[in-house]
């Protein structure tokens, strides 16, 4: 890694990551409080920037304000990265994050203007998680740890750990889509329940493989414990959130316990997806792919002879 470490850029990425997490909470609160259409117009709220902050308007308008702030911070991140960062792919990632946050704003607007139809809320919910993952990536790629030299860890197993990690992340994202589909009343609960068991299998499989192949690599150990813990909590939260929906089904309005549990379940889902991406990133950082390993081996042999 030849790039210089920019502590300011890294810290800024971390701040944006924390703010994005707040935005995820704000967005989840909108859905759980049935407040997505409390403000029927867009981009203004009731034709103004300062609508009456009562009832559902409070949740929806707060979500819009925080989102606008995140958009502004992402512009700064993109410009800063473009100016300071020498790695072209990191610059493009920052730009992609900016594109994602703009698209996310447009999807949010369409969600309102199209009355939650045409799958807009699901697309909005899923892109939120992709954006969160991208910002997490920015925070990781700009860290001192990522830029400094790390010992390369060979992977002798098959399929490669990269394949395991990617498959796991893709499965978690599928579950994110299923969860959003159920939450926005487009599909029944059973595909999401099925998805939970599928994710349980892929997370366990990935964690076991990490343990088996890289049991003594500190970062891999931490990542393994993290994804196992977060998914375990998420699984239990899913049961609790569903139970809270059943118990309060006859209530005349969203009840606080249901709101709290579904919001926590939603944002922990985002954390689970972020953790699965983190495992992918760590694998690509520490473990050379088979083609890279072969190239290194050829070079070494050539140097010896």
């Amino acid at each position: 890694m030849s790039s210089a470490y920019h502590p300011g850029l890294h810290r800024f990425s971390l701040v944006l990551l924390a703010c994005t997490f707040l935005l995820l909470i704000a967005g989840a609160l909108v859905t759980s409080n049935d407040a997505a259409l409390a403000v029927p117009d867009w981009p203004l709220s009731y034709g103004t920037l300062t609508p009456p902050m009562v009832g559902g308007i409070f949740y929806e308008h707060s979500h819009r304000v925080i989102a606008a702030g995140i958009g502004f911070l992402t512009i700064i991140l993109a410009v800063w990265t473009w100016l300071a960062e020498s790695r072209r792919w990191v610059r493009w990632l920052a730009l992609a994050a900016l594109g994602a946050v703009i698209l996310q704003g447009v999807l949010g607007g369409l969600t309102v203007l199209l009355n939650l139809h045409y799958g807009m809320p699901i697309a909005h919910a899923c892109l939120a998680q992709i954006f969160f993952g991208a910002v997490m990536g920015m925070a990781l790629f700009t860290s001192r740890w990522w830029i400094s030299d790390q010992p390369s860890v060979p992977d002798s197993g098959s399929p490669s750990i990269h394949s395991f990690a990617l498959f796991n992340a893709a499965t978690v994202f599928l579950q994110v889509i299923l969860g959003a589909g159920f939450r926005h009343k487009s599909i029944p609960i059973w595909p999401h329940i099925l998805g939970a068991f599928l994710v349980a299998a892929t997370v366990t499989w990935t964690a076991l493989t990490l343990r088996h192949r890289f049991g003594n690599v500190r970062e891999m150990k931490l990542a393994r414990i993290l994804i196992n813990s977060v998914f375990g909590v998420q699984f239990l939260l899913g049961i609790a959130a569903w139970a809270s929906r059943l118990v309060t089904a006859d209530a005349p309005q969203p009840m606080p316990a249901m709101v709290a549990l579904t919001v926590i379940h939603t944002v922990t889902g985002a954390l689970t997806f972020a953790c699965s991406l983190l495992v992918v990133m760590l694998c690509y950082r520490l473990v050379p792919r088979s083609s890279e390993a072969a190239m290194v081996s050829t070079r070494t042999e050539a140097a010896i002879s």
Partner: protein, 272 residues
């Protein structure tokens, strides 16, 4: 180099085209909330119905709930001080409303089958739906397709009126305190359309839309009456938001007032 520039230009063009398409889509959607108006009632080619007043009969009766009604749940309006101020006591859910005898209100009773293929004149008088004390009043209403529904806001807070139809265009409009009444109509039959207010998520009412005038909504004592029915064999149905539907055959003879009753089972309630 030249090729690379060409690629970049085409990427720029694609980006511009994408942005323009999104802008057009947004512009087409409007930005002031969306109305379901301008959806005229579908023209029927059926001949107009002719009811002979000399032979027309009617059906009347009572809707009851067999078994204890679920306890009425208090609504928490703390999210909006104007709503708490508008009610001396916290209102309760209007989902199941019975009197001491178990007579069930807010049930839509309607002729489901046997009318034949006729068209009916749309009443000129609108159906009024008020928002009062941060509740929809009435809780359940029925209209003919194309009949005007007028929404009023008597509260000192903003509401949004958001019907969630399956068979009609959806719309969502805000109504500030003192704002003019909102007039809308629904062009297709649908039983029943939930009408929400997302500012106050406990606010929910139902609008049943029919292609004919043979419907009624049971009142506080569970009573209902449907008049001006030609003699004939019909199917009468009752719909309740929690308990679903009940049907029974109905035979109306000339000048006859037929008494019927519907009994919903409290244990059958499944919740929404």
């Amino acid at each position: 180099m030249h090729y690379g520039k060409k690629i970049r230009n085409s990427q720029r063009m694609a980006l511009l085209a994408g942005t323009a398409a999104l802008s057009l889509l947004l512009a087409a959607c409007g930005n002031q909330g969306n109305s379901g108006k301008n959806t005229p009632v579908e023209r029927s080619t059926a001949p107009p119905a002719v009811v002979d007043p000399a032979t027309a009969g009617s059906v009347f009766g009572v809707v009851r709930l067999d078994g204890p009604a679920p306890p009425a749940r208090k609504i928490i309006m703390s999210g909006d001080s104007a709503c708490t101020a508008a009610n001396q006591e916290p209102p309760t859910s209007q989902e199941v409303v019975t009197d001491a005898q178990g007579n069930l209100a807010n049930v839509v009773i309607y002729v489901k089958g046997g009318i034949g293929n006729f068209s009916f004149a749309i009443p000129k008088a609108p159906v009024e739906m008020n928002q009062q004390g941060c509740m929809y009043v009435p809780h359940v209403a029925a209209v003919m397709a194309g009949q005007t529904v007028v929404f009023h806001n008597a509260d000192k807070t903003t509401h949004n009126i958001h019907p969630q139809p399956k068979n009609n265009p959806a719309w969502n409009r805000s109504q500030s305190p003192g704002a003019p009444a909102i007039e809308e109509s629904f062009s297709r039959e649908e039983i029943a359309i939930p009408v929400m207010c997302n500012v106050h998520p406990w606010m929910r009412s139902y609008l049943a839309v029919f292609n004919h005038p043979y419907f009624a909504v049971s009142g506080a004592g569970g009573a209902f009456e449907i008049r001006n029915l030609s003699p004939g064999n019909y199917t009468l149905e009752a719909w309740h938001e929690k308990y679903g539907t009940l049907s029974q055959p109905l035979i109306v003879s000339a000048k006859q007032a037929v008494r019927v009753s519907f009994v919903f089972q409290a244990a059958a309630g499944t919740g929404r």
